[in-house]
Structure formats: structure tokens, C-alpha cells
Symmetry: D3
Subunit: 248 residues, 6 copies
């Protein structure tokens, strides 16, 4: 089984971090290939960054299709381009936010999210609403650290994240914590040990969900609103999408 893990930002360091975490958790028969787009923002900290990054995600899915990927993981906590990506393939596509939410509800009745910047909290709130998990999340918290600090000032960032997780544990009446950034994929064990309750991280959760769906033989539905897009002309720098003739 070949899982393509797409880091929607263009930071090679973060792609490596994510890819290593994904590989470590993958089952023996699973091959993980981590990629990031050639085009896009180095980090995703706003609706704007997210919208731009979605195009890169879609190109990486199309590349994955040519290489025969069996499943895709979108490794940014805003799940950018998720439904669009599902239209492009029969393979399962999993966002790390949804993956973490699903897993957290299976081991606890209520959870809190600890993310990077407060301004991205609204993105998590919108996803919770869309996926149906609003009632399971007590609170969206932010450690107020820029995403790239996870790579560049890892130790200081870790302290702040643990600190916020402990506050969540003590104040929020929860059973589990969801880490709200793909860049935290290598921190799960440390945080979990320090905080003392289950810590759910999306990259690893998504890899296991992708394996599960492939194992079940479940494909993304091509009946109805996730069917392949109707082929049509694209202009300018997106002209390449005009050649889109997905296997049907």
C-alpha cells in the first residue's frame, strides 16, 4: 500500500518531520511518500494561506494518481482542498483535522484542541461544525506560536504547547487533547507523557485511517457530489488542469 502524505505548505523541513512521523506509524506493508507542493506558502496561518495551498494539494494528488498512490493524507490542520481532492481520485483522501477529531471521539467523550496561532481557531471551529464534532470539542486553544517556530524554535515551542495542554487538562473537563498542527507530528509522545491523558495527532491518525479504508476496500464515492469533475478548459497558469481526464 502506498500512502501519499501531502504537506500543503512548502517547508521541506516540515515535510520531512511529517513524513518521518507518518512512516514510523505506518504498518509493515505500507509505503509512505511525503511531498509538498512546488508552489505555495511556507506555512499556513490564515484563510489566505490555506486557499492558496489548496491548489498545490490538488496538483500533488494528481501527481500521486500518476504514480499509483492508494490513499492520500492532507497534512495541514485546516484540511485544505479536502473535498476537491476527493473529486480527483477513487482513492481515500484523509485530512489530518478530521482524522484527529474522529479518533478523539473514539477514546473520550469530550476533547480540546491546542493549535498554534489563535487566528486559526476559527478554521478549526468551522471544520468541527462541518464534520459534526462541535459538541465533542470543549474548547479551541492556541499556544500563540507561529507554525515555523515548531521547526526553528522547537524547544521553546514545545514548552508553550505543553503548558497549554496542561491548562486544557485542568480546566476543560475533557478526556483527550487534539494537537492542531501537522508540524506537531513528532511531539505527540513527549506531550502525552507530560500531560498524562491521550493526545491525538492528526498525521499519524490519518495514516492509520487511510490504511483502514484501503484495507476495507472502501473508495471515495464516485456516485453523486464527489464524482470526477466535468472536464473543461482552464486558462493561464492553471491551463494544465484542462487535460484532466481522470480514470473513470
Amino acid at each position: 500500500m502506498h500512502i501519499r502524505v501531502i504537506n500543503p505548505n512548502t517547508s521541506a523541513e516540515m515535510t520531512a518531520t511529517i513524513g518521518e512521523a507518518a512512516s514510523r506509524i505506518a504498518s509493515p506493508g505500507t509505503r509512505v511518500s511525503a511531498r509538498h507542493p512546488d508552489h505555495g506558502p511556507v506555512s499556513i496561518e490564515s484563510h489566505f494561506d490555506e486557499a492558496v495551498s489548496a491548489v498545490g494539494v490538488l496538483e500533488e494528488v494528481l501527481a500521486g494518481e500518476r504514480e499509483g498512490a492508494d490513499a492520500y493524507v492532507i497534512a495541514c490542520f485546516g484540511d485544505p482542498g479536502l473535498l476537491a481532492a476527493r473529486e480527483l481520485t477513487r482513492a481515500p483522501v484523509i485530512g489530518i483535522a478530521e482524522a484527529a477529531f474522529h479518533m478523539a471521539t473514539l477514546i473520550s467523550t469530550r476533547f480540546s484542541i491546542v493549535t498554534t496561532l489563535g487566528r486559526t481557531g476559527i478554521i478549526a471551529e468551522h471544520l468541527l461544525d462541518q464534520y459534526g464534532f462541535s459538541h465533542h470539542c470543549r474548547r479551541v486553544r492556541a499556544a500563540e506560536i507561529p507554525v515555523l517556530d515548531l521547526e526553528e524554535n522547537g524547544d521553546a515551542a514545545l514548552v508553550r504547547i505543553i503548558d497549554e495542554c496542561q491548562r486544557a487538562r485542568d480546566e476543560d473537563n475533557i478526556g483527550a487533547i487534539v494537537l492542531g498542527c501537522g508540524g506537531m507530528a513528532d511531539l505527540t509522545d513527549t506531550i502525552s507523557r507530560e500531560v498524562g491523558l491521550p493526545v491525538v495527532e492528526g498525521v499519524t491518525a490519518a495514516v492509520k485511517l487511510a490504511e483502514a479504508l484501503v484495507g476495507l476496500g472502501l473508495c471515495t464515492s464516485k456516485h453523486g457530489d464527489l464524482a470526477f469533475p466535468r472536464p473543461k478548459p482552464f486558462t493561464g497558469r492553471f491551463e494544465g488542469f484542462s487535460q484532466l481526464t481522470p480514470e473513470r
Copy 2:
């Protein structure tokens, strides 16, 4: 007052249709400039088309900022890039789906939507949920016509839309109908006459809401999660976004 109306698809005919409808409805002191991106799909009929089109919308907002636009209308019923666009400017930004929903709730207690293709119904459902209008919409209906048929086979398309609107009126227990595509902007009067109940169309509704917000002196909030994006490097074909230094 200068309202920039952005048609997110790259069809010049549809941009003209939308621009004319917007200009007709605008108040005397309002100048409407209609634009479409240089890069993107000729029509928007899927999550994929919508995700790609969002980048073009954002570029047009940045262009509008350079030209001093006072407000923006995003003229596709999926409101692509709406929150991202709001981050890029202090000017109000209005999506035509939200505009139509808001207006419909002010003149009726319940409405139905008549859109183009059934597969885009889920996009409307997600927006209704996010905006809070799910309970006000009885049903999302589709005339099952491709978007460009509105330009290319206008008469046949009109017949099918009117037909579906009449079914909505007779079966859905509603007070108003929302037209679910920017390309229907010039059909409102005809449809309304044939159907006999208020028909709300998003392009015109959005122009009037934009005028209203500018008239009130209300700007897009720069406090909290719609603040300008943090400047950062973008790579590849999106490198231009690295120079993003919005007036603060």
C-alpha cells in the same frame, strides 16, 4: 463608490452578464467594475473548480486594492475564497450565496434554492450550515443544466429553471426562491414574473449589501481572525504573494 465584482470563472460572456446586472442595480453614485481572473476554470461546477478559482479571486482582490476598490463581490454561488479575500482588505467583501440567503430571510420565513447541477447542491448545503441559514432553506433543487448553458443555450436553460422554480413554489411550502448561480443574474425579472413569488438573485443582492456596508462605514474587521495575513515567502508560481504587504 467603486465596487469590484469578481466573476471567479474565466468566461468573458458570463463576466459581462454579471457586470451588466450589477451595474443596472447599482445606485447612481456607484461605479461597478466586473473582472474575471486570468487563470482558472471557465465554469465552476465542483469543489475542484471552486478551489482553483479561489486563487484567481484573491488575485483580483489584490488588484482591486491597488485600484482603490471600496467593496468586493464574489460572483459565484459557492462564495469561493470568501474568508481569505476578507483577510486581504479592509473593504467589505460579499459572496453572492450569502447575499442571497440574507436577503431571502428578510422577506420570507422559508426559501428554496434552485441551482444548476445537482452535484453542487452540497456546496450550498455547507454554506447554509456555516452561515446559519439551514433552517430557513426548505430544499436545494437543481435544474440539471451545466453552468455555461446559461450563456450558450439560454432559452432552453431558462425553461428548465422556471420549471424547477414552479415546482419549488408548489411543493416546498416556501415564500421565496434563491437562484443558485451567478450566471442567472439577468434572469431574475423573467423568472420572478413567471413564478409569482419573490426571486432573490445573489449578484444584485451582493451589490446592494456592499453599498449598504460602505454607506454604514463598516469595514471588514481587522481585529482577530480576519486580520491581514502574516507576510511570508511563497514559492513557485505563487511567489508574487510573498510581496504581500497590505496596508495595515
Copy 3:
């Protein structure tokens, strides 16, 4: 265009305040006439006050119909008699609570309300639920000042309102504030300046929404549940309503 602004309480001072704010915001071609009922409470601070005031509102709408008003604004934050008023006319009728909520969601993702007395908070909560905006409002706050203090102890009242707005800004994770009383219509600029984020006030918002609907040619739906009431006998002091024969 003639907009009839109805202050549902019988305070002439507040009617003047409201009327001036409405006139100031109105477009050149718009004439604003502000009225208050002859019969009713001097201020509205409870469900009881609101229920009684609704009858006065309805009489003012009927008077407006005789005078050819093109739209109506109900200038109390509980939107008293709103749906009943809509039944009496083809003209648009806008409540100031709904107007403020609609506008606030167009410029921010989340807002808080600052109202007068805590006991009226439940009225705002019920309206948020009915209109679909509960998820967009973080918190309903009260400055704990009686409504008429806005006229009689304006300076002290203003200090308390600004104080509460600043708390909302600092604690509620919001992008905008909604002022929860028609009597605050002249305070918007001052408060906005002191608080530093968009402040949405309902009277002015409603005037612009009324202009927008009239500009769009959108009437209150007479199809279904907002149709004119069936004529019937009324007894006693409401006998006058028996003559109700709205243009059909």
C-alpha cells in the same frame, strides 16, 4: 424612497435620536420619517413591555401604508411584532436586531452583543436562535443601564457601554460588536473610536438594508405564511383592526 422608522416605545426623545441617526445614514434619495406609537410603554425592558409595544408597531405600519411608505424599520432590539408587521404590507420590514446581526456576520466571523439590562439578554438569545446566528455570537453582555438612562444620563451610560465593549473586545475572541438597543443609535461612532473594532448598530444597519431591498425590487412575500391576514372581526379597543383590508 420613503422609509418609516418606528420606535416601538413612546419616548419622543428617543424617537428623535433614532430618527436623526436614520436620516443621517440614509441615501440622498431616501426620506426618513420617524414615529412612535400613541399607545405603549416609554421604554422596552421586558417581554411584557415588548408584547404591548408590538400592537403600537402594527398600528404605525398600517398608518405608514396609508401614507405610502416604501419600507419599515422596527427600532427596538427585540424586533417586536416583526413577522406580524410583515403580514400587513408588501413593503420590506426590517428589525434592528436582525439588521445588526446580518451586517456583523458580513464583516467578522464572530461578534458579541452589548445591551442595556441583563434581563433582556434572553430576548437577544431567542432572536439569535430564530434567525440562525447563535453560532456567530460569542456572548450577550449587558451594561446594566435602564434604557431611558441613554437619554437622561447619557454620559454615565456611555462610559459603562464603552467599558463593557472593551471587555468584549479583550475577552470574547470576536471581530465586531453589536450594540443592543435602538437608543444607542447616536453613539456608534464614539464607541467604535474608543473600542477600535467595528461596531454595528441596528437602526442605521436597518435603514441601509431597507434601501437595499427596495433597490432590488424585493417585496415581503405574500405567498405562504406572510400573506395578508384573513380579514375578521376584532372587538373592543382593537375594533379598528376589523376594517383591515390590505391591498392585495
Copy 4:
């Protein structure tokens, strides 16, 4: 125990029907007094009728207070003036819509409503939302008979109501039916026999809930938003409310 049953419309026949049904169901120690306002509509079939009737309801509550009523029933399916009435008294006040909804959820998992005119369905929908019962109601149905036909064309009306109830039973996947009009208070047994599943009627349900609350010693809360209204001047024909000095 003295329960004041207030028929919000001014039809003496319907007041008699309601009063008899209430008396029949009351416990031995309970005295029922049925009243209708002197001022108001002869039937309630719109938001307008309902808004006007609310004032009459409030006057009857004040009259009941002078006569020492122990509880109040508001016998119109729109529960007009319910929260306002609660502010005027420590005694329990029960609306017949809420009473029927509460009772129906105790004997079934899902119910449908059969009301008079389709246009009043929206009132029931709004109450279901406000009270929290939207998910328990499968469908709001109308027999499309004017309210007074229940008195004047009783046999024909009954046939249509039974017919609609049978459709509800056969099509709606429900366990119980709620009758949606106070004027149906004397039809419950007949309908229930013909339809063969539990039929919940609001007047009788409200009388028993009122007895229950009085028996429990539970009063309408005077802490918070249902406290007595602040005394204040009322003008014109509502001047009498200025003397409002409820026992505190």
C-alpha cells in the same frame, strides 16, 4: 386550586368549548375559570392576530392576579404572550402548544402536529425550535380549515382533521399526534378513537401541567429574566399598565 384558562381570541363559543374541556379534565380540588379578552380578534390565524391577542392575554393575567388565580393556561396553539405573562405573576403559566409538545415526548419518540391553516405552521415550527422539540416533531400538517369552522362547521371540520391525522399515522413514522388548535379541545377522544394512536391536545395537557406545578410548589422564577417588569409609564389606551405594581 384555581386555574384561569385564557382563550386568547374573543369567541365566546370557543371559550365555552375550551372551558368545558378544561373543567372535565381537572382534578376534584381544581376550579377552572375560562375567560377571553374583551379586546382582540375572534380567531387567531396569523402572526398579526397573535400579536394583537397577546395584549388581551396579559390583561386577563392581571385580572387573574386580582382574583387570586393559582395558575394560568394560555389556550391558543401559538402560546401568545407566554413569556410576558410569566413576568406578571409568580403563578405558573402554561401555553397549550408547549404543554402538548412536552406530553407527546413522554409517550412517544416522534410526533406530528395537525393544525388548522397551513399558514400557521411556521408559528408551530418557531415554537418547536424555541422549546427544543424540533427533532421530536416529524412534520407539521394542516387540515386547511379556518379556526372558527371548528365551531360553525364542526362535523365537516372533524372529518378533515381525522383524515389528516390518519395520513400522519400512515406516512410520518410517528408514535403520537399533537392537535394544533385550542378549538379542538373537545375532539380529542373522537380523533384518538378513529386514528388509533395517542392524540395529545394542549388545553387538557396544560391544565394537568398547571396542577402538577402547583402541586410541586413550583412558581415562575422571579430571579433573572422572568422577574416582574420594572414599573414605568404607559401611554394612551395602555395607560392602565402604568399602575402595574405586582406583588413582589
Copy 5:
């Protein structure tokens, strides 16, 4: 009328407390018989305790059927076995959590719950969701006392409960308090006096609701999903349920 009050735990002291409170509140013509299962936990403080206790509840309902009970009360705040019990009988079956919620919404707009252990709060939250009362409850609070302390350390427990109720009153913006444990049935008057706002207790509320339903002639629906269970073999210690042939 014979109301069977079932204490789902096996504590005889608590059964006596509950039975006495139920008898005191019952109407003259009502006979209350309080029972507890022979098999089950001495107190209910977890999902596990609750699941086990449900079987005992069902056996007590079957016993009550043989003795001709007219209604049943399930006297544990988690309403264990409620829908299952309803399937076994035509008589009304009332849970004390639902009873308290219903009554609280009739005398206030918002309430808080004060229960025993924090870990049982989630059970109350799930019931609020299922019954439709989530929006009416501001907060679920726990006094953090084990259930049996209500019997064994009554004075100390009472102090903590009153303390938590006073915090609810002062901080939660509510009109009433719901006591969240059947073992508090005898404390209502004391707590209400100390706290100064209406205190709703479920055992007494359920007795009055049961009387109300019986008085109305309303039975548990046997149409649809609460119909008698299909007879079938049960094995092992539940073999007795195979003989289940409820009167149909």
C-alpha cells in the same frame, strides 16, 4: 392510581427516602409504591453502574405490570432503561431527569444542574441533547460527593450542594436549579429556601407528570418504535424474559 417508583440502585435507605418524597407529593387518590431491584449496584455513578441497573429497572416494570401499576417513575438521574421500559407497558413511564428538565423549562428560561460526581455530568449532557433541552441548560455542576454520602453524611453533603447551588445562582445567569440525583429528593425544600430561586427535583416532578398523563388518559404509544418487543428466546440468567408476553 398506583404509581410504581423504581429506585434503580439497590440501596434500601435511598429507596425509602425516594418513596417518602414521592408519597408526600402524590395527590390524595394516588398510591405510591417504591421498589428497588434485587439485582444491581448500590449506587449509580458511572455508565457501567447505569447499564447494569437498567436490567433491574426492567424487571421492576414487569413486576409492576403484574401488580397493575398505572404509571412508573425511574428514580435515577440518568433515566436508565427509559425507552426500554416504555416498550414493556402501555402505562406512562417517566424518568426523573426528563421530568425535572420539563418542569424547569416551564418556570424559567434557563437552568443549571447540580449533580453529585463530576464524572456523571456527561450523562446529563447526553440526556439534555436527546430530549432537546441543551439550550435551556446553562451549566452542569457537580458538588463532587458520592451518591451514598447523601444518606451516610447527609449534613456535610447538604452543605456542599447548597454551596454549589448558590454559585449556580450567582454565576450562571439562570432562573432555576435542577437537582441531579434521586437521593436529593428530600432536600428540595431546604435547598430552595437557602438558595432563593426555584429548585426542581426529579422524583417529585416525575410523580406529578405521571399523575398528569394518567389523568389525561394518555398511554405510552404502542404504534411504532415503542411497541411491545417481539417475543423471543433469552438465554442464561435472563431466560425469564423469554416468557415475556405483554398484554397487547
Copy 6:
């Protein structure tokens, strides 16, 4: 890895069917042991059957703990005893209804459920509400076949299930179908082939989710409301639960 699959009913044939389906889908390193309780109903078709079966499920979890199971699957579509079971172990516990819902939302935007008897539809509705998936499910359908017919009249049952699935596909505007009974675990491939869209079955889905959670090292939270139950005396036939001293 050892996954204990618990069939909550006592039908050995169904346990075999479920166990075989679970074993077939399990990964190489996973051992599946299928068990059914010694005590309980032969099939589960009502709230009553479900409540009784929950105790058997809990005993099987305790047995699994003694045998060192790494995860548990509760293989009845009502997820009986799910939260109680989670309290008894650190191992993940997955219900087949929740498993199917989670998986269905990852490959489609909307699904329908096809279950056995119509009367069990309400159980699915309540679970959808509790888990947060109500908006993702378009319709709960029943083939109206008793559960044991799946074993005893397999061919006829299969025809009816396929028939109902085809109706769901053609009428419900969905992308996937969820099979609503553990006894359908061996039919998935056939149904999926006949119906032509993804068919999600809970037993297999739950096995893969259990593997995923174990692979992630995620345990059921013991912080907060899923902590081990407080030890306490149980009486009568449940006395064995008194010895409950879970590893802490």
C-alpha cells in the same frame, strides 16, 4: 494484536458470521476472537433487547480483560453498552454503528442507512445525534426483515436489502450506504456489487478502526468521565461485579 469481537446477541450462528467477517478483514498480525454472552436475547430488535444485551457485553469485556484483549468491537448496530464498556478498560472499544458512520463520512458527503426493522430506526437516529452525524445521514431505511432472517432466510433477506439499497441510491441524493445490522457483515461485497456505490459495514469498519487505534498507541481515556468505575457492592445475580477491581 488481539481484538475481541463481541456479538451482543446470543445467536451462535450470527457470532460465527461476524467472527468470520472480522477475521477476513483483519491484518496479518491481528487475532480476532468472536464471542457472545451466555446471557441475553437471541436477537436485538428493540430498546428492551438492547438494554438486556448490554450487561452481557460488559461481562464479555471483563472476560476479555482477563485474557489480555487489546481492543474490543461491539457488533450490534445499536452500540449497546458502549460508554459503559469503555469505562472497564484502557483498550479501545468500538461500536459498529459509530465505526460505519465514521468511515462513511470519509468517503462521501451524505449517506443513508439500511437497517432490518423499522422500529430500530429510532436507535440509529439517537446514535447519529449523539455522535454528531445527523447532518451526514439523509435517511434511515428499513428492509423490514427480522434480524435472524439474515441467518435463516438469507436469500430472501438479501433480495430485500439490495432492493432497499437501490432505492436509497436512486432517491436519497447520497454517496454511500451504511448497512445497519451486524448480521449483514458477510453481505457487503454482494450488496456493493449490486448497488454500485460504496457500502459501509460496521463489523469490518470497527475491526480496522480498532487496529488503527492500537497502532497509534491510543487508549480509552481514563481521565474524566470514562475513568474506571468506582468499586462498590452489587447485589443478587450481579454480585460478581462487586469484585470489579480494574487495573488502574
